[in-house]
């Protein structure tokens, strides 16, 4: 493999600065002791991190987001894993149609999904409820799990399953003892990606929350639209830290490269 020349190294350096700049700036601003957004901060203070704890709106929104992401990712996994097993191994009629339907939330503009869910939930009398929000997030995150689980199902070796069946194992035992352990990395990777997607989701959610079910991104979004004080930066910094911790966990369990490279193929 050829190595990069000085021009390429300079290009990559500028590119890396471009990618990191907005994130570094947000983290820097969060530590300011003053009352406005200044970078670099004139001192180091945890004032705006303490302010999060004193803000019931942000604390409540963070709690809603956490619950929502946990429930939606788990429910979506329960729907997506059986579907992935059927699609990945079966050859029944309409298999491709089912797969494109289940992947379609990635293709539809999120604004369109947002208004469609708003219309539907309003007619059903579920608008603004946590249950309604959870159903919508389940639909949005299902494709992420389906894609990663499908990738691990396609590479699955059927002989171990056949051996278990021939020795008299029930379907459930085969799934629990043979199939699930083999596809587990894909399931865990998919669950984490689904969790992050739900936790970060704004465009759909902004249409279907009410004050009691406001999620963290929606709260942050409406706060930025009204005022700008360093509180938004400290909340964002906590969110970034949370993501970094999840990234480390994913790297251990599934391999971050695999997850990120899968993420872009939509």
């Amino acid at each position: 493999m050829k190595h990069n020349g000085p021009f390429a190294v300079a290009f990559l350096l500028v590119f890396a600065i471009f990618m990191l700049a907005p994130i570094v700036v947000v983290i820097g601003v969060a530590f300011t002791p003053t009352g406005f957004l200044e970078f670099p901060p004139s001192g180091l203070s945890l004032r705006w991190f303490r302010a999060i704890l004193d803000n019931p709106d942000f604390m409540h929104a963070a709690w809603v987001s956490l619950k929502l992401a946990l429930v939606a990712a788990t429910v979506a996994t329960a729907f997506a894993v059986p579907a992935a097993l059927a699609i990945g191994r079966g050859s029944f009629r309409g298999r491709e149609v089912v797969q494109s339907l289940l992947m379609s939330p990635l293709m539809i503009p999120t604004v369109v999904l947002g208004i469609a869910f708003l219309r539907f939930l309003t007619v059903m009398g579920l608008n603004g409820t946590f249950f309604g929000l959870m159903l919508c997030h389940t639909v949005i995150v299902t494709p992420f799990i389906l894609r990663l689980v499908l990738a691990s199902v396609v590479g699955l070796d059927k002989s171990a399953e056949r051996a278990a069946i021939s020795m008299g194992a029930s379907d459930w035992t085969v799934f629990r003892r043979i199939t699930l352990p083999t596809i587990l990395p894909g399931v865990v990777g998919g669950w984490v990606l689904a969790f992050i997607t739900s936790f970060d989701e704004l465009t759909v959610t902004v249409f279907i929350t009410n004050p009691s079910t406001t999620t963290l991104p929606v709260r942050l979004f409406s706060y930025i639209a009204q005022t700008t004080d360093p509180l938004v930066a400290s909340v964002s910094t906590v969110a970034i830290l949370f993501t970094v911790v999840l990234m480390v966990v994913v790297d251990r369990l599934y391999g971050l490269d695999r997850l990120l490279i899968g993420e872009g193929k939509r």
Binding site: M19, P82, F92, I115, F207, L220, G264
Partner: protein, 296 residues
């Protein structure tokens, strides 16, 4: 041998009829929670709206003619597509060489660079856009720095401009371009580059004549993704453009949450989807023709 023969019938026992059943729960969820809402929204876009009586269940093209016949909406759609096209072009111009250099890095530095380029995908768009708002403001980081050096006297206006939105959108969308181009580059045979060099081609010629043509399918598929996502982006234009620089997605949000004219908002959304689809199909047709001819 007797073991093998008792084995065979169980092995053949078909698990096939069970498999569509495994799809049934997900399929049911998507029929109720995705297809039904989408069809209801399509129907909604043909309904009428009255400030006192709300949504009327009539069926007319009035909303579509209103959007398509008003200069105000032309401006919004025009701006949306200009922003999406500019974002796509810049992503291609930066993303293609970046992926090429990335592909040539040694594994240690490459994994760090992959983390820097793709890691932001996992951070909320709201947070990333907030970072750009802090950088681009009149008293933001960039303006303060430029004024301190003495390059400019008055702050450059970057917040609430289309240019600022494009800059932040490039940051949000470029990971998709890099991934698409990188995937194409990994399929290419490194021997072709070596062959060109051994025949005396310089690095620029190798890039232009050997690497770029092989990377083109990746650039094209990346462009389609970036264009579709930028044309329907909401968070970035909403935060950096506010009410002054409206795009289609933020106008739809306004119609639904402030004006409450849902049918008109639904019609705008449907026109956006149609416009994105037509652009994508036309673009891939055009490109297939060109590429097909060049390599025929």
């Amino acid at each position: 041998m007797s073991i093998a023969s008792t084995d065979t019938p169980r092995e053949v026992a078909p698990p096939v009829p069970r498999e569509p059943l495994l799809c049934a729960p997900a399929l049911a969820l998507f029929l109720v929670m995705l297809l039904t809402p989408l069809i209801m929204t399509l129907v909604l876009s043909f309904n009428s709206f009255d400030f006192y009586e709300g949504i009327g269940s009539t069926f007319s093209l009035a909303n579509y003619t209103e959007v398509l016949g008003d200069r105000y909406f032309y401006e919004i759609f025009g701006r949306t597509f200009a922003i999406a096209l500019a974002t796509t072009a810049i992503c291609a111009i930066i993303g293609a060489p970046a992926s090429y250099f990335l592909n040539r890095m040694d594994p240690f530095w490459r994994s760090i660079m992959v983390l820097i380029v793709l890691g932001p995908l996992l951070i909320s768009v709201v947070v990333r856009t907030l970072g750009w708002a802090i950088l681009l403001g009149n008293r933001g980081v960039i303006n303060t720095a430029l004024m301190n050096i003495g390059l400019i006297e008055r702050p450059l206006k970057m917040m609430y401009t289309s240019g600022g939105i494009v800059l932040a959108l490039v940051h949000v969308m470029i990971p998709f371009m890099v991934l698409a181009v990188w995937a194409a580059l990994q399929r290419q045979d490194p021997a072709t580059e070596a062959a060109a060099e051994s025949l005396g081609a310089g690095p620029f010629t190798v890039f232009r004549r050997i690497v770029l043509p092989q990377a083109m399918p990746g650039v094209l598929s990346g462009s389609l993704i970036v264009f579709a996502l930028s044309a329907s982006a909401f968070a970035t234009p909403a935060i950096l453009g506010g009410r002054r620089v409206k795009v289609v997605a933020t106008s739809v949000h306004d119609e639904f949450m402030n004006t409450l004219n849902w049918p008109l908002g639904a019609a705008m959304a449907m026109i956006l989807v149609a416009a994105i689809l037509i652009t994508m199909i036309a673009w891939s047709r055009l490109v297939e023709d060109r590429v097909g001819r060049a390599y025929a």
